[in-house]
């Protein structure tokens, strides 16, 4: 079983550190795992945001957006995830680009960390930009600072850094004549779309980590289908990183909302039960 050794929450983003020695040994920057809270939970794809091969742990940042992530959010240290499958997906292409800009929002603040670290080790100048609604919503800043040459902030209310979003910082940088050789973005689909727009005019190579609905993560089901440059790609085996200028965003948006009815309906018959209590009851029944 995959024991949770550490758990904390920063404004709806839940940091879950899980014991998964095999994955911790094999994972590379940009890859993800698929996790299941309990035996009958949905499978949730989550970017591996850090790992410690020696301790055999991986760090996941899970955003609560539905019933299955709600279950994950309510788990405690000592509980075990039913399944962690991975590492999945193609690792980020890391080489010496020159100046690399990394943009992260929501779970992406944690998610860009391994890419930043790898880029830094490959000798790049790393500029990390992170966005949130308020200044209190940032997390993992210290670690990100260590692997970035520059860490820039963007907040919706202007409480820290630039008032606006990641793309506003990118526009600012371009206006100031900052040379950007490669950009990576990770966050919600809206943010990825807007950031890709920001880098389009200067033809900056842009990689975005897509977050389409995913099921098995091995290319069998096709649920994560996305159109990139007119070609059908699977985010799980061909991605998750694609050229941001080529992605069909409208299709991705509509496919992401495909199960809104079921996602809403499932709350009707949900009742939270304490995991420990459940276990205790089961033990009692067994005698």
């Amino acid at each position: 079983m995959f024991e949770i050794v550490e758990k904390s929450e920063v404004f709806n983003v839940h940091k879950i550190v899980v014991k998964a020695p095999g994955i911790a040994r094999a994972v590379r920057a940009g890859q993800f795992v698929i996790i299941m809270g309990a035996e009958y939970s949905e499978r949730i794809p989550v970017t591996v945001s850090d790992w410690d091969a020696a301790a055999g742990t991986i760090v996941l940042y899970v955003l609560e957006v539905g019933i299955s992530t709600l279950e994950l959010a309510r788990m405690k240290v000592g509980d075990s995830l039913f399944a962690v499958t991975g590492p999945l997906g193609v690792p980020s292409e890391i080489k010496n680009y020159g100046t690399v800009v990394l943009g992260g929002g929501c779970y992406g603040i944690g998610g860009i960390y391994p890419i930043a670290k790898a880029c830094k080790e490959a000798g790049n100048k790393v500029i990390s930009i992170i966005e949130a609604r308020y200044k209190d919503m940032f997390y993992n800043e210290k670690a990100l600072m260590e692997v970035s040459d520059k860490l820039l902030y963007a907040t919706s209310d202007g409480s820290k850094g630039t008032k606006g979003k990641v793309e506003d910082v990118v526009y600012e940088m371009l206006e100031q004549g900052q040379k950007i050789d490669q950009a990576f973005f990770m966050g919600c689909t809206q943010m990825l779309e807007r950031c890709s727009e920001a880098t389009r005019s200067n033809s900056i190579p842009t990689k975005v980590a897509l977050n389409s609905i995913m099921l098995d993560g091995t290319g069998m089901c096709g649920a994560c289908r996305v159109s990139v440059g007119g070609q059908i790609k699977f985010a799980c085996v061909d991605g998750p990183e694609f050229d941001g200028h080529e992605v069909d965003w409208n299709e991705l948006h509509s496919r992401k909302a495909a199960y809104a009815e079921q996602e809403t309906g499932v709350y009707q018959s949900y009742s939270h039960e304490c995991m420990a209590e459940k276990k205790f009851k089961q033990e009692l029944e067994r005698g």
């Binding site: 929450e9 404004f11 709806n12 955003l63 609560e64 957006v65 539905g66 019933i67 709600l70 959010a73 309510r74 609604r133 308020y134 209190d136 919503m137 907040t155 919706s156 209310d157 409480s159 606006g164 979003k165 919600c188 689909t189 809206q190 807007r194 948006h253 992401k256 909302a257 809104a260 009815e261 996602e263 809403t264 309906g265 709350y267 009707q268 018959s269 949900y270 009742s271 939270h272």
Partner: protein
């Protein structure tokens, strides 16, 4: 009479609001008079159906001759008063107050430039636990704060936003609470204390730590709360929400229905989206009325009626003993073949109190023509015949049983049927009986939010049951199934042809409906099925109430 006389006696005085002469009766506040005269004054705490406390300060108006500004919700109207409700000065003041309110509410989305696209694309797929902005908030479509921001044209908030950092309260059945969104208007406390006299919640702590809570921060279910959800109805923000029905946004339709889960027959409005019942609430204007709704009607509809276990297609038993789905024509033909094999005295019908009058009447008519009037009900696990001429003795000869409430038939009751050969099950959920060896047909029917008709409730009041949602699969209403079978059998004395026909016949034979036993108000069953089996939160609620030695329903 007294009231009428008093009204005539009370003097009509005249005052001026925004240069318009308006009349009022003594005892009215400026806000009451303005609302009645069609003059809008923004409020966050005052409602016509709640006592005013003057806590939000948004209803400030200028009264000539009075120092400063007066809260219109608490200032009584006086003869000759001259009031100004909107001037640039007052608007500025209100904007300032709203900014202060919003600085303690996660409101970054309100002033975010990418708000619209985000709301369109990101919001539908995110159902967050901790709300950090409007686009993540379940209440975004009906939020009064957002309406006020639009009205006052607020573009920016000058103050830093303070997040209070209260833990989420999600351990109660049915209800989620996030007091980080609370603006302390006090409406929920007013409705609980003043209108309902329950006092389950109150302000706790002082100063910046002030929040709404129960005594000793106990769970609501362990306190005095009875989950009538009036607090959720009056909350202007997304702080309080009904967990099962908070994420569907704005409903496609709102249909007034009568809840027939018990004899009281409460009127509720059912919200539907995607052709399904998503929630039920009182009529909006009455949501703070002095009437409590029980947890069954207020919270259990969606989970009960949308249960994936619902029967969807008619099924018949093949020769090899297995059930196969079929269409209605075949099913009806099959049932009529089975019924025609038996003598009327060998057939008995089990009717239900949980269906419409029309269905019950059709069932009685069917029994009169084809089953020698052998119709009975099950009340408190005991068999009750609808006419006193019948007694338990006839049960020995019954060979075919047609039931509308299969789950009510306990083994004890079934043991009276010594020569039973076959059972026809017409129901909403599968039961032990529907899968037993004797059952030969399964006919899926609808729940009361999926059919039109009437229902006679307590004190002989006949109420309208209306169709709000689409039935699952091919399920059709009880009366329609019985009418199809009755006509297929082709006895001329079966007089029903259509729905209107049944309604006329009910008026001519009211005793048929009068014989239907009433469902007691503390009943926890629907058509013989325990509601808690399909609504896990109700089970949790009942368990906690029993543990605390408290009455379960009221």
């Amino acid at each position: 009479m007294d009231k009428l006389a008093k009204r005539n006696e009370s003097t009509h005085e005249v005052m001026t609001i925004n240069g318009k002469n308006v009349s009022f009766t003594s005892g009215e506040t400026i806000l009451d008079v303005a609302r009645r005269s069609g003059i809008y004054i923004p409020t966050l705490c005052a409602r016509a159906d709640l006592p005013s406390t003057g806590s939000c300060r948004l209803c400030l108006v200028k009264v000539e001759g009075m120092r400063g500004y007066a809260t219109s919700c608490t200032t009584p109207a006086e003869k000759g008063m001259v009031v100004i409700t909107n001037s640039p000065e007052i608007e500025k003041l209100r904007r300032g107050i709203l900014e202060l309110i919003l600085s303690e509410h996660p409101s970054a989305c309100l002033v975010c430039p990418t708000r619209e696209t985000c709301e369109k694309f990101n919001a539908p797929s995110s159902k967050t636990g901790r709300v950090t902005g409007c686009n993540m908030c379940p209440n975004r479509d009906t939020c009064e704060l957002r309406q006020l921001v639009e009205y006052l044209g607020l573009k920016d908030i000058r103050y830093p936003i303070l997040y209070k950092g209260f833990p989420l309260e999600r351990d109660d059945p049915f209800m989620d609470r996030d007091y980080n969104l609370c603006i302390l208007c006090g409406r929920c406390i007013q409705v609980c204390q003043e209108n309902l006299g329950t006092s389950a919640i109150s302000f706790v702590q002082r100063g910046h730590d002030t929040k709404v809570g129960t005594s000793f921060e106990k769970l609501h279910v362990d306190g005095d709360c009875r989950f009538c959800m009036h607090c959720v109805d009056v909350c202007p923000t997304g702080a309080l929400s009904v967990r099962g029905s908070k994420w569907y946004g704005y409903p496609d339709t709102e249909t007034p229905v009568t809840c027939i889960l018990c004899e009281r027959g409460c009127e509720l409005v059912v919200d539907t989206k995607w052709d399904k019942v998503m929630g039920a609430h009182p009529v909006r204007d009455m949501s703070a009325g002095k009437r409590e709704y029980c947890v069954k009607g207020r919270c259990c509809f969606p989970a009960l009626f949308n249960s994936p276990e619902r029967l969807k297609y008619p099924a018949m038993r093949r020769e090899d003993g297995r059930f196969v789905y079929t269409d209605w024509d075949t099913a009806v033909k099959n049932v009529s073949d089975i019924v025609s094999k038996y003598n009327p005295s060998e057939i008995a019908l089990l009717s239900s109190s949980h269906t419409t009058d029309e269905s019950v009447y059709a069932f009685h008519e069917f029994a009169r023509v084809y089953a020698d009037s052998n119709i009975f009900y099950i009340v408190n696990d005991r068999l009750t015949f609808s006419t006193i001429e019948k007694s338990d003795e006839i049960l020995r000869d019954i060979k075919l049983l047609f039931t509308l409430e299969a789950n009510s038939l306990t083994d004890e009751i079934l043991s009276n049927f010594n020569s039973l050969e076959r059972i026809i099950v017409q129901d909403i959920f599968p039961s032990k009986l529907s899968s037993s060896e004797k059952s030969c047909m399964i006919l899926p029917t609808t729940v009361f939010t999926e059919m039109d008709g009437t229902k006679t409730c307590a004190e002989n009041r006949r109420k309208i049951v209306s169709k709000a949602a689409k039935p699952p699969g091919n399920a059709i209403p009880d009366w329609e199934i019985i009418l199809k079978i009755g006509n297929e059998l082709g006895d001329r004395s079966f007089k029903i042809n259509n729905f209107r026909n049944i309604q006329n016949l009910i008026l001519m034979h009211p005793w048929v409906i009068a014989a239907v036993p009433m469902v007691p108000k503390d009943s926890l069953l629907y058509r013989g099925f325990p509601i808690a089996d399909f609504v896990p939160d109700l089970r949790k609620y009942i368990e906690h109430r029993l543990k605390g030695n408290k009455e379960v329903l009221f």
